[in-house]
Amino acid sequence: MIDRRRRLAALAGGLAAGLVLAACGSTADNASSGGGAGGVKTDKGVTDTTITLGVMTDRTGVFKNLGEALTGGNELWVKDVNAAGGICGRQLALEVVDHGYKADTAKTLYPQLEPKILGITQLVGSPVLAALKQNLIDDNVLTAPASWSSEILNNPNVMMIGTTYDLEIIDGLAYLQQQGLIADGDTIGHIYIDGEYGGNGLRGSKYYASKHNMTVQEAKITSTDNDLANIVTGLKGAGVKAIVLTTTPGQTASAMSNNAALGLNVPVLGNNPTFDPALLQSPAAASLDKLYVAASSAPFSSKTPKAVEVANEYKATYPDKPKNAGAQAGYVESLVWQAVLEKACQNGDLTRAGVQTALKSLTSVTTDDLVAPLDYSIPGAPPTRGVYIAKVDQNAEGGLTEVAPLFTAPDAQGYKAPHQQS
């Protein structure tokens, strides 16, 4: 209580005086350590009764739809696990903070969150992850980011959940070729957001093109460029046979609608973040039928039993929340955490170092097929290389139907991720 009052005073003190009053509080370090219940070693974020995980999400910024669904998925998992008796004799709790997709806000929130948690089960936003990279390493906080870029695998504290963007695109292009939609020697267009997300996707298409004698026509955009008419005009001029997107849903709509409007009409390949079911209500709806989505997690409407179960539970618990693949992705993020925590519990070490050790010993985390089995034993390598391929379907809930569950291209097996160590 004193601590709380002291902080409130410090809060006021930043604006004016009043700091003197605040000085009465103690500044003693209150982190406890040592043996806990059941002889399990613990440090931060774990007490005898509770394991606390952090969620750094976006509820008010540009990715609030995704953030809401992911957080919903995380919360469902906590509910399920706690109903089943918790992990290691402890109940789970989430500490959720909203950074609004702003790195400066996150930078301030992090030190407030860090002492309370064992690890992070959801971290939204490439700029946020980049800004916190050093903190996560310094504090040894294991983090499941809502970013699937293989560029971030050089951070040993990142726990990748599923396939990375580059592999999604490699698998996706292989699927298009398998279907006869593109052929060796073609020119393909790739519109990508400059940044961790888009750039990683581009790495995938460049790799695939190099294996199949294709030419990639690149177009770099920023996350707020929504009018792609001039770009698609240019791609049409270049005679592309397919367009790859690593873009936001809004940009996907523009690319699709111009693909139709300008009479280009080529197949378009995107990955998970490119699609949002809300697009089906936009003026671009009629032009979406050419879109294929290669994603590491199952679409919202996936027929995979666990995905159906999560979707139903999600709809029942959060009738107002946006329905997108974030729900399953959030759930699966936490499922992997569950595997890590259980392993660490077996090892008798629920410290931050302990969960790191536990993670590296996991070679096949199964998630009821929400994502392909995950292997965390190779540093820097994506834990899996399989994707779900889906196609836009007006009638499917969440707007996508699976056309190929867990598809892994031969080219994907041979691909070496940028920070892969073997």
């Binding site: 400059d194 009018d227 001039n230 005009t233 809004g250 609608s257 409007a261 009479g263 003026p283």
Partner: protein, 292 residues
């Protein structure tokens, strides 16, 4: 060649909307020498009203309501704030509009929550194709509306009593006041018209064809791209607004293809910079902003 022609078409179509936006800046500047940084938020108000009422009222009535709302909002800003800040010079008033803009924009974005509504129902995403070229219907409608409105403005500036009064005021404030021209009415009318222009422009902006995005922060940002259009044409020139709008549209389209897409926004600003260094009051402008 087709690519080039298509780009020119894209550029001209977008330029028409930029011109409408730039005209909004120019009308207010001509009458009051104030640069209205809140134009983007007027755009949002108009768009928000259309979004909020089009399901209940139908699109045409909602569109009309949106235009009226944006106009009234502009009038309110002028009557409630600008008119009461009598001691402030025109530069301070421009800063005041920045404050207004921040407030309105944040509030509308909050009200939109997760929605990014498209509001160009009757014409959006219905392209016309001929001879291998595509004309976006939104931009065609915008072009026609733009030509009609801009012609009406030219006529009004020349011949209506308001236009005469406004030009007199633009020439010399004190003299106009002495001649009995009611300056506050001219000023209020200018704001009202600028608001209405913003309300019209947004009907084309929050579309798949024009911006590729629905109403939101991005719509507000487009008004910022129209700023160079108004400035490079000359803030006190109606012709300048039209030419400026088209230059911005074409610069954007052509540099996206022939330099690089990410350069296209910088290109717009660099063209503006170049023109300003050569002609500090813009292509058709007659006055520098602040006098010695």
């Amino acid at each position: 060649m087709n690519t080039f022609l298509q780009l020119v078409l894209n550029g001209l179509g977008k330029g028409a909307v930029y011109a409408l936006l730039a005209l909004g800046f120019v009308v207010i500047f001509k009458a009051t020498e104030v640069v209205n940084f809140a134009h983007g938020s007027l755009v949002l108000i108009g768009g928000y009203m259309v979004y909020a009422t089009k399901d209940a009222l139908g699109w045409p009535a909602a569109a009309a309501l949106g235009i009226v709302s944006a106009a009234l909002a502009a009038l309110l800003i002028e009557r409630l704030l600008i008119a009461h800040a009598r001691n402030a010079d025109v530069n301070s008033l421009a800063l005041l509009t920045i404050g207004v803009d921040v407030i309105i924009t944040e509030e509308i974005v909050r009200r939109l929550r997760a929605d990014i509504p498209f509001i160009g129902d009757p014409y959006d995403a219905q392209p016309l194709q001929a001879a291998g070229l595509t004309v976006f219907r939104t931009q065609l409608v915008a072009l026609i509306v733009g030509i009609v409105l801009i012609t009406a403005f030219f006529l009004a500036f020349r011949f209506s009593s308001w236009g005469v009064a406004m030009r007199a005021q633009a020439e010399n404030r004190e003299a106009a006041a002495l001649m009995g021209i009611r300056s506050s009415r001219v000023t209020a009318t200018a704001w009202l018209l600028a608001g209405a222009l913003a309300g019209v422009a947004v009907l084309f902006m929050a579309t798949q064809d024009f911006s590729g995005a629905g109403l939101g922060r991005g719509t507000h940002a487009i008004a910022l791209i129209a700023f160079p259009a108004a400035i490079l044409g000359g803030l006190d020139s109606t012709v300048g607004a039209v030419v400026g709008g088209l230059i911005v549209g074409l610069t954007e389209a052509l540099s996206a293809q022939y330099v690089s897409f990410e350069f296209s926004k910088s290109a717009v600003f660099l063209v503006m910079l170049l023109i300003l260094v050569i002609r500090p009051s813009g292509l058709f402008g007659t006055r520098e902003l602040s006098r010695v």
